[in-house]
């Protein structure tokens, strides 16, 4: 190879590569723990999806709902729903709002209890003309009777060009 004109340079390259590899393989315990904790997390922070989600959740503020200062962002593929674990309180009302900047797509939000059973509640989704104009938005409203762990599913139902779609989910409570 041209870049390794002399044996010394070749050896130096090998040493650097070996060091880089060993540092990658033998990670510190906390880094390993961190990466294990992160494996289930969805990366990417699509700001347009966030803006749309917050805008939609903001509409519930008129009814006294407070939107939490946190979001779940990621990428959806048709036929592969993603799930978020949440902790809800008996007697509270919640709206979970998901939004994606994709034009003409359809997303769906569903809430399940700790046993995996779908909760009764309200469903809202952006109509076709709105979705074509500004992006896909959907929301699920629930009022749990028991405090505990629940699961929020976000699904991509329709995507005109078939490609994965960025999304953000936020929630509001009162």
């Amino acid at each position: 190879m041209k870049i390794f004109k002399t044996p010394a340079l070749f050896l130096l390259g090998c040493v650097i590569m070996a060091m880089a590899l060993s540092a990658h393989i033998v990670a510190a315990p906390e880094e390993q723990a961190e990466s294990e904790g992160m494996k289930n997390r969805v990366t990417a922070v699509p700001s347009e999806a966030r803006r749309l989600a917050l805008e939609t959740a903001g509409a519930f503020a008129n009814d006294g709902f407070r939107t939490r200062d946190g979001e779940w962002s990621g990428t959806l593929t048709k036929g592969a729903p993603l799930f978020l674990q949440v902790t809800l309180f008996a007697g509270e009302s919640y709206w979970f709002v998901a939004a994606s900047p994709m034009r003409g797509g359809v997303v769906r939000v569903t809430v399940y209890d700790s046993t995996g059973k779908r909760m009764k509640g309200e469903q809202w989704k952006e109509d076709a003309s709105g979705a074509a104009k500004s992006g896909a938005r959907a929301a699920a409203g629930v009022a749990p009777e028991r405090s505990g762990t629940y699961f929020v599913a976000v699904e991509l139902l329709e995507q005109p060009d078939g490609s994965p779609a960025d999304f953000t989910l936020v929630y509001a409570y009162k």
């Binding site: 315990p29 906390e30 723990a33 961190e34 904790g37 289930n40 997390r41 969805v42 407070r66 939107t67 939490r68 200062d69 946190g70 979001e71 779940w72 729903p81 993603l82 799930f83 978020l84 674990q85 949440v86 902790t87 809800l88 309180f89 008996a90 007697g91 509270e92 769906r108 939000v109 569903t110 399940y112 700790s114 995996g116 059973k117 779908r118 469903q123 989704k125 959907a138 028991r146 405090s147 505990g148 762990t149 699961f151 599913a153 699904e155 989910l169 929630y171 409570y173 009162k174």
Partner: protein, 303 residues
């Protein structure tokens, strides 16, 4: 009399009505599998409720007298980063109590203390604006905006911890906030004649999850005295809250136990220490020696 024509009309109308209902409701699958539940994402910012959320729920059930729950919280003098992260959680929860009590001065105090701790943690650079907002909202009695700002401030501290490769400290802040939330909420419910609000604070899974997260921290953090104490308090709370079918007296006894344990832990978190020691806990004050836990039971204001 029902004729064939009626049947024909019904046969046409029923599918139409069903179609409209399904389109409007658009429900997802009726159930998800255990595997899907196991794969669910657990995010600090959304999966763990903020203390303000618990207090809002309690407000509906038993209208606590928040003014009696406001306690002056001063950040301890310490160089132990784990303790500082725990302090942020306790202070944030204190801030929510002050918001519910509509005590502007206390909110300002809490804001100042959080800034001081953030500075000690080296995460204060991006927080100056938050601090100013807290002061401004408190002066204008903008209570809802204050609650939002408190959560945003706590999250910004956590985000900066992550940026500075201190992700482990985030878990400590969340756990401490929840312990403080348990201390307050168990005190409130315990003080109610009919244990109103008990079902609201019954969140054993969350306490268990937080305890488990603390147990997964690197040894140098998880073996620290305060972290051990927080974990034990959460594990105990998880066990006691998961027990059902008890008499009201037994429930009250369990709430008192959680309240006592959480009170001791909170006191330990807010106590100054000169040694940044990651050694296991042996010297936290016992509930009996603190002699203040039972006074945390609060008589709710009748609606």
């Amino acid at each position: 009399m029902v004729t064939g024509r009626h049947f024909a009309i019904l046969a046409l109308l029923i599918p139409c009505a069903l179609a409209v209902q399904v389109r409007g409701a658009n429900p997802g699958p009726s159930a998800i599998t255990e595997q899907q539940r196991g794969e669910a994402v657990f995010l600090d910012a959304l999966s763990i409720p903020c203390p303000g959320e618990v207090f809002v729920a309690l407000n509906k059930a038993c209208r606590p007298n928040w003014a009696t729950l406001v306690t002056p919280a001063t950040a301890p003098v310490t160089t132990d980063r784990s303790q500082l992260a725990l302090v942020v959680g306790v202070l944030a929860a204190n801030g929510y109590i002050a918001v519910e009590a509509q005590d502007g001065q206390q909110v300002r105090n809490v804001g100042r203390e959080i800034m001081a701790v953030a500075k000690a943690l080296g995460v204060s650079q991006s927080l100056m604006g938050r601090g100013n907002s807290l002061m401004e909202f408190a002066e204008n009695n903008a209570w809802e905006a204050l609650a939002d700002e408190l959560e945003a401030t706590e999250n910004e501290v956590k985000a900066t911890m992550v940026e500075q490769k201190d992700r482990n400290l985030v878990v400590l802040t969340s756990a401490a906030a929840w312990v403080m939330g348990l201390k307050i909420s168990t005190g409130v419910v315990q003080g109610s004649d009919t244990l109103q609000g008990l079902e609201i604070i019954r969140q054993p899974d969350l306490a268990k999850k937080l305890a488990s997260q603390l147990g997964s921290l690197p040894p140098r953090i998880r073996e620290g005295a305060l972290v051990v104490a927080v974990r034990q308090a959460l594990e105990s709370a998880a066990t006691l809250l998961a027990t059902r079918g008890l008499s009201p007296e037994q429930e009250r006894g369990n709430l008192k136990k959680i309240n006592d344990e959480c009170s001791v832990v909170v006191k330990g978190i807010l106590t100054s220490s000169t040694v940044a020691s990651p050694t296991p806990a042996t010297s936290l004050p016992s509930p009996a020696s603190t002699n203040h836990a039972s006074s945390n039971a609060v008589t709710p204001v009748k609606p």
